[in-house]
């Protein structure tokens, strides 16, 4: 179906950045205290399983985005209704992440700027990016990937060489038992960011070598998961579990500790730059998914008008989604995972897969 192609490396970059997205910033699972990294490690494993599930559906219909095979499997009306829900879901996720980044900017440097101004600037760039298409975006993602990896390396080296890490912050391992770990793991740990990889089922049809989807994806998940784990270990050892728990943006807090030779200081801008890039990529991917899905569902070309419209919706809902940052975070940790993430990221795909298997079982029986 799509003529535009992306290659395996571009997919890899997009996936890794996508996983870094909110996690690097919010350090999800932080209420597991010093065992955050265990949560991260375990969720990486579960993420691999989830990705297996998504790709096994993709392998059945390699030329269709998820909204496409939803209708193939469940029929025009039920499938169509669910596709529509997915599009709304993607738009909702995009606006949630957008709100995250607006809040980050406000709490760090733009204290006196309104959410609206920051949001408009971001959404304009997003609209432009989506307007140019997946191909240009995938190329930029690679560029961003290189920048992010290099900067993270430099930052982490600074943490270690600057002597800010105290490994005793990690102890005792599993001091609170497995209970907290499980509570964090299910549902937030597995849904964000690994469950969110379901977005890539919308982008996989653009891949030039369809067979590499599984390999590249798993590789990306493992690399991404391990780096997230390392990152959370580092943050923990710098800040300690209590500070991580209290801070809204642990990465920002940790970086502001750095002061080497009175010259390398105030690096929080540095991490802010990274965050904006990460956020840009992550929101773009959700945005793309919404557009691709809608184009597929309504059988139309993604016209500029439509992109502006969806962009506008994302922007406005990012403002209206919650009255304050605390409410936003609460919603994100307590409501969204159960009501939205679990059914959309795990429930529906499992049901889809089951339907496909049952259909396959039934079909030969009907023939013979």
């Amino acid at each position: 179906m799509p003529k535009i192609k992306i290659d395996g490396f571009q997919l890899f970059c997009m996936m890794v950045i996508f996983m870094f997205g909110s996690n690097l910033l919010l350090d999800i699972g932080k209420s597991a205290k010093q065992d955050v990294w265990i949560v991260n490690l375990l969720s990486t494993l579960i993420g691999c399983l989830l990705y297996f599930m998504y790709t096994s559906l993709f392998k059945k219909y390699p030329d269709l985005p998820m909204t496409g095979y939803l209708r193939k499997i469940w029929g025009k009306y039920i499938g169509g209704a669910f596709s529509f829900c997915y599009i709304i879901y993607f738009i909702y996720l995009a606006s949630r992440v957008l709100r995250d980044f607006e809040e980050l900017l406000i709490s760090s440097t733009y204290r006196r700027t309104s959410l609206i101004t920051l949001g408009i600037c971001m959404i304009l760039v997003l609209i432009y990016g989506v307007h140019l298409g997946v191909e240009a975006f995938a190329r930029v993602a690679c560029l961003c990937f290189a920048i992010i990896i290099i900067s993270l390396l430099i930052l982490n080296i600074m943490f270690v060489l600057g002597g800010y890490t105290r490994l005793e912050n990690l102890q005792p391992v599993l001091g609170n038992g497995w209970g907290l770990v499980w509570k964090e793991l299910i549902p937030t740990g597995i849904t964000v960011p690994f469950g969110e990889l379901i977005t890539f089922t919308m982008i996989l049809p653009y891949l030039n070598k369809k067979s590499s989807a599984v390999k590249v994806g798993l590789f990306a998940i493992i690399i991404g998961g391990v780096s997230l784990t390392l990152n959370s270990i580092l943050l923990l050892s710098v800040l300690g579990p209590e500070a991580v728990l209290r801070s809204n943006f642990p990465a920002l807090t940790a970086v502001s500790y750095i002061n080497i030779a009175d010259f390398f200081e105030r690096l929080d801008t540095f991490i802010l730059v990274l965050m904006i890039i990460l956020g840009f990529i992550k929101i773009s991917i959700f945005f793309f998914c919404a557009i691709i899905g809608a184009a597929d569902l309504f059988q139309m070309k993604p016209s500029p008008m439509f992109i502006y419209l969806v962009g506008g919706v994302i922007f406005i809902s990012s403002i209206m989604i919650a009255p304050s940052y605390q409410a936003h975070i609460n919603e994100g940790l307590k409501v969204v995972p159960y009501l939205l993430h679990l059914p959309f990221l795990i429930g529906i795909p499992i049901l889809l897969l089951l339907t496909v298997y049952i259909k396959q079982k039934l079909k030969p029986a009907a023939v013979s």
Binding site: F9, Q10, Y110, C121, G129, R139, L143, R266
Partner: protein, 495 residues
């Protein structure tokens, strides 16, 4: 004014096709009429002393054809021949091409070809009673001497540059590659000007599909006149809504040869010393031919310096503005105190300061290009004094702003290609506005926009932003470093 206005008269005129007439005087009359009795049309009638009806007309456009050749190799032999012989028409037709002692004689019968031969500077001999036109090549277009390049200078390296004459330019290239695989294909573009365009490439090295694509696009151009290579550039590039140069232009023959050897295609246009090279990628604009004429380490350093200067020239003023207006916390305290001390006496906001200085510099620059040579020093003295010291002392701008603007201006001149300098100017102003509005966040978002934009660009089908996007790490080394020739040669022979 000169573009796009279709010449109505030319289109309403009866078509000039048809063949030549038998009668010489009729042909001459028709030619006179079609050229509107132009005063530079020269017609020399030669009659045989033996026979009244045997005569010939020697026709050329004064100034375009070489007068000496016409006198000695066309008119003189014809007169001698008429004097000595008394021949029939058919004999004359057969013998005529032997009589004209010029390098190339072609025989044509169509009126159109006859006309275009006259207009390009060839000399045409018409015989009375014959419908054939003997076209002797006597082109000698006025051209200036080969001089040193003016916009792309080097310290060590060839000092010649292209001229306005297509033939001179192709000969400069040919002289450097003595290889039978060099191909030159000629086209005419411009429905009124009929400008000669040469497409040059090396068979076997250049990508066939790109050569075809270039030819196709050049042929498809529909315009009245082509006065400079930019006309072609704008008409054949892939994306018209961009500030970035999608085709490389150069006035250095060695640069063209280097690019031909790498498999690119050169488009040479009559009337301009700037040759286009396609396909061009972004990183090429940072390479000077001199990189290969001097020590590899120095070259690598200079290449990276140019990249740094490119960013500095775009971002210096915007980042300064962002720091001073939005992110004072990021400036080390001692520096901040001194900066604010300077700004104390300045009545304007920082953005006005920066914009005033940048505009003043742009004005100086433009004045420097347009003004007559003799006034040059005056302008530079006034500019330097007023914009530097005096502006600071008068309290219009802070000293730091002068420094920042000077850095961003000077950095842009390290770039080997002027098209890229213009890019930095455009982007610099956009960044200043955005930075004034929302600080570093805006600068970053705009950078993302530029990346997105550049990634979507293509030059004759080749992604413009390679090897950065699409990301090819191995090729990127060659962008920042100039590798020693032995390793470069090994690589190309392996291919």
């Amino acid at each position: 004014m000169r573009i796009g206005r279709s010449l109505k008269r030319a289109k309403e005129k009866p078509t000039t096709d048809g063949t030549l007439l038998c009668e010489v005087s009729e042909n001459v009359k028709r030619l006179m009429k079609e050229l509107g009795h132009s005063s530079d049309l020269s017609v020399r009638m030669i009659e045989s002393p033996h026979q009244k009806s045997v005569k010939a007309a020697v026709i050329h456009l004064d100034g375009l054809a070489d007068g000496n050749i016409i006198n000695e190799n066309i008119v003189n032999p014809l007169i001698q021949w008429f004097k000595e012989n008394n021949q029939t028409l058919t004999e004359m037709e057969e013998r005529a091409s032997h009589i004209l002692t010029v390098s190339q004689v072609t025989v044509k019968e169509s009126w159109q070809e006859f006309l275009s031969a006259v207009l390009t500077g060839d000399t045409v001999v018409l015989l009375n009673g014959s419908t054939k036109a003997f076209i002797a090549s006597t082109k000698s277009q006025p051209s200036r001497a080969i001089t040193e390049p003016t916009s792309q200078t080097v310290i060590r390296g060839p000092k010649d540059s292209f001229t306005e004459n297509l033939r001179t330019n192709t000969s400069l290239i040919r002289a450097r590659i003595q290889n039978p695989d060099v191909r030159l294909e000629s086209l005419k573009v411009g429905s009124v000007t009929q400008t000669d365009i040469g497409i040059m490439y090396i068979q076997g090295i250049a990508d066939e599909s790109i050569v075809e694509e270039v030819k196709e696009r050049v042929k498809g151009i529909d315009i009245d006149g082509v006065l400079e290579s930019n006309y072609i550039e704008e008409l054949i590039r892939d994306d018209s809504a961009t500030i970035f140069p999608l085709l490389l232009n150069t006035e250095r023959p060695d640069a063209v040869v280097g690019n031909l050897l790498e498999g690119r295609v050169a488009i040479i246009i009559q009337g301009t010393p700037f040759v286009l090279i396609v396909p061009a990628i972004f990183s090429q604009f940072f390479q000077s031919p001199e990189d290969y004429y001097q020590n590899q380490y120095i070259s690598s350093f200079l290449r990276m310096l140019r990249f740094g200067a490119f960013f500095l020239s775009m971002y210096a003023s915007a980042v300064y503005l962002a720091l001073v207006t939005h992110h004072q916390g990021l400036i080390p305290t001692t520096l901040l105190v001194s900066l604010m001390g300077q700004r104390e006496n300045v009545p304007f906001p920082a953005v006005v300061e920066i914009l005033v200085m940048e505009m003043a510099f742009e004005i100086l620059r433009e004045a420097g290009i347009r003004m007559p040579r003799a006034i040059g020093p005056a302008v530079s003295i006034v500019g330097a004094l007023i914009l530097g010291q005096a502006a600071v002392e008068a309290g219009f701008v802070g000293a730091a702003v002068v420094i920042i603007v000077a850095i961003s201006a000077i950095s842009s001149f390290t770039l080997p290609n002027t098209s890229l300098v213009n890019v930095t100017r455009g982007i610099r102003f956009m960044l200043i506005f955005i930075s004034a509005f929302i600080g570093l966040y805006g600068i970053l978002l705009f950078t993302l926009c530029i990346w997105l934009h550049m990634s979507s660009l293509r030059s004759i089908g080749v992604p413009y932003f390679t090897p950065f996007a699409p990301f090819r790490l191995k090729e990127q080394r060659g962008v920042f470093f100039r590798f020693p020739l032995p390793s470069l040669l090994k690589k190309s022979s392996r291919k």
